[in-house]
Amino acid sequence: MQKLALRNLLRNKLRTTLTVASLMFALLLLSLLMAFLDLLGSTSGASDNRIIVRSAISLATLLPESYWRQVETLPHVAAVTPLNWFQGVYKDDRPENFFPRFAADPATVFKVYPELSISPQEQQAWAADRRGFVAGKALAVKYGWKVGDSIFIKGDIYPMDLDLVLRGIFTQPRNADQEKVIYFQRQYLEEGIGKRGLIGTYVLRIDSPASEVAVRKAAEAKFENSDFQVRAETEKAFQLSFAEMMGNVKLLFTAIGLAAVISIFFITANTMAMAARERTAEVGVLKTLGFGRGQLLRLVLGESLAVGVLGAALGCGLCAVLMPVVGALLAKMMPIFGTLRMSGGNWATGLSIGVAIGLLSGVGPALGAARLRIVDAVRRVA
């Protein structure tokens, strides 16, 4: 039986190849879409031990510096560091030259991000130089920066340009994204824009993930009746809020994926119908020889299932190979694509779609073959 199904598949090699190839491309696309969706929902480097406090109005509104000491004294808070998103332009406007630039406090930033390691000497050197900055190793390698090098960043959100000197390089072996960031002294920014004492976000490290709810509630309650109310959320929730702002992208991608699946269904069903029509007479002969309905059903279904699974496996395989390449290309426009990878879940979904399409597209022809009357079939031989 299996042998017969296999032979049938190879009978029209061109057709099988074309069908498998079209399935492969559709699944390649589907896997790309899925991987992209995973990426949107990912919270790289987020720790359960950190809470972000920001203005309840939006990120574009800043908080007073005086809140710093007040959040520090909340129970369960181990350390607090302020961060201001500077944005700005390094070299040119191209997205590949974009990386996060934060105005930070040298004395506390590494207490809140203990996973970033830096030598005490470099940390001191940074603290001692108002124009100093520290960079993640991945960035330093990308641009060939050495300690002592100067870089220039043109301001856009803030009305000042940065003239910075590299004083240290920090590493985070477990998460490359966290190494693609620079921190410079917030004092430098404050002086440049006239000591306005404004802070974008306060990052809190708490004693344990269990105190998260208590700390968030306490922080929000503390400033409830002040001029600037705050919103406190876990680092994970904070990162996810950006994906949320992308709008109904998820819905769009699901719709596209669905259309792609319908499109491949048409293609495979078409092939199976063509294959079945070609072999009507043969089915008659098999029936005459005593093959039962069930056997014929399995024969045709087995063939289409093989096409479905083969196409899906090739598509997913090709995707796994191509994904890093495609990711690197897309990263030039949107840096988050740099980590585009095929996950186990993507494999599972891709292969199940292959199985489903294989079975569905074979059902019609298989039933046709099983129901065929020998007389009608054999009559067609001539």
């Binding site: 190839a21 574009a60 009305p159 702002m245 499109s263």
Partner: protein
């Protein structure tokens, strides 16, 4: 000697099932392509409806959007009184300082996004004639009232007519709903700039100034004058230019996405078209042999099959475009990548977008059909005639 087109079309539909399924698969590819491009088209339309060439947008020097820009009342007064700014019948300048504030609000469908809140002065309604109340009444300055763009009112429960919404610690009442010709303003909340600055405790009162000139040329002169003034430290640009940048940033992602998707799906569909055309050729070996024996040349046969493949593609393209037509006018929302606030827009299946869809399908048919057509033309007559 040419083979009549009728022959091609009829041959295609002899094997109805196969042909229809291939048309179906290509049509879905076109649907996806047109759908994604319609998002880009809709975004562009929303932003281009916002720009008037006789208007000038003034920002802080170095800022690229109103969200990044801020300056004080002194500069705003100076800008409004610049010569070159048009005046109304009472001699009042047609100019307004604006504050653009982002506020997190809960979306009706769950989730939260940044919504643009725009503080304006009365002249804003004279300058932006496309803004028109469709429900309720205008806001009264000093009374903590706002009016809401039609697209937002539908999507945010807190912004329905009559609702009360907290800005900073001040409750504002929604007293009117406006439309603005489908422009991006329909994704904004408008109120009196002084009320909003007070509620949000803003130190620098203005994000931008909007100046209306008598003509596009006068607007250019104003731009040059503001840019040339080193003391002001401001930058200016014509309004269409300001919105064109936002349109480009916002629609670029959809254009890239659409093309990447179309490429992969179309390659897949090419194989389907190839399958169909090979089936056509192999089923008609005898027929091709006869045509050749009658004196039709190889290139005529090639052309005939290519025309068949092209017809297949065009029919699929038209079918896919028709499938995509109901998307026209569907409301979608995404993030304005320049201001980081939500922009709602209506999908536009503009004629050029439908045309691109048909072209894609035509290309798929031709590329997919070529190998089969080539093999049909190459096979020797004797071999062809021997087939049944």
């Amino acid at each position: 000697m040419k083979i009549p087109l009728k022959y091609n079309v009829r041959s295609l539909f002899v094997r109805k099932g196969t042909t229809l399924m291939t048309i179906g698969s290509i049509a879905f590819v076109v649907l996806v392509y047109v759908g994604v491009l319609a998002m880009a088209g809709g975004l562009r339309a929303a932003f281009s409806a916002a720009g008037d060439p006789s208007n000038v947008v003034v920002l802080r020097d170095g800022a690229r959007s109103e969200v990044e820009s801020f300056f004080g009342q002194d500069k705003e007064r100076l800008l409004v009184s610049l010569p070159g700014v048009a005046r109304d019948a009472q001699g009042q300048p047609l100019a307004t300082g604006q504050a653009l504030i982002l506020q997190i609000l809960k979306h009706a469908g769950g989730g939260e996004t940044n919504v643009s809140i725009r503080g304006v002065e009365p002249a804003a309604f004279v300058i932006r004639k496309q803004v028109r109340l469709i429900d309720g009444r205008p806001f009264t300055p000093g009374k903590a009232e706002v009016i809401v763009g039609r697209k937002l009112a539908a999507a945010y429960p807190a912004l329905r007519l009559g609702a009360s919404v907290n800005f900073g610690r001040v409750p504002f009442r929604v007293v009117g709903i406006f439309e603005a010709g489908g422009s991006s303003f329909e994704s904004e909340v408008w109120g009196a700039v002084a009320d909003l600055n007070g509620a949000f405790r803003r130190i620098s009162n203005y994000s931008s100034a909007l100046l209306h000139a008598a003509s596009a040329d006068d607007a250019q002169a104003l731009v040059a004058r503001i840019k040339g003034d080193q003391q002001l430290r401001l930058t200016a640009l014509a309004e269409p230019q300001y919105y064109a940048e936002q349109a480009n940033v916002a629609s670029a992602q959809f254009i890239v996405l659409g093309n990447v998707l179309a490429f992969f799906l179309a390659v897949g569909a090419c194989f389907a078209a190839a399958n169909t055309m090979f089936a056509q050729v192999s089923a008609r070996g005898h027929e091709i042999g006869t045509l050749r024996a009658l004196g039709f040349r190889r290139h005529t046969i090639l052309l005939a099959f290519m025309i068949e493949a092209a017809v297949l593609g065009v029919v699929a393209g038209v079918a896919g475009s028709l499938l995509a037509l109901p998307l026209n006018g569907v409301t979608a929302a995404t993030m304005n990548g320049v201001t980081f606030s939500e922009i709602s827009f209506s999908l536009r299946t503009a004629p050029w977008i439908l045309g691109m869809g048909v072209l894609l399908a035509l290309g798929t048919g031709i590329v997919g059909g070529f190998p089969a057509a080539w093999s049909a033309a190459r096979r020797p007559i004797t071999e062809l005639l021997r087939e049944h």
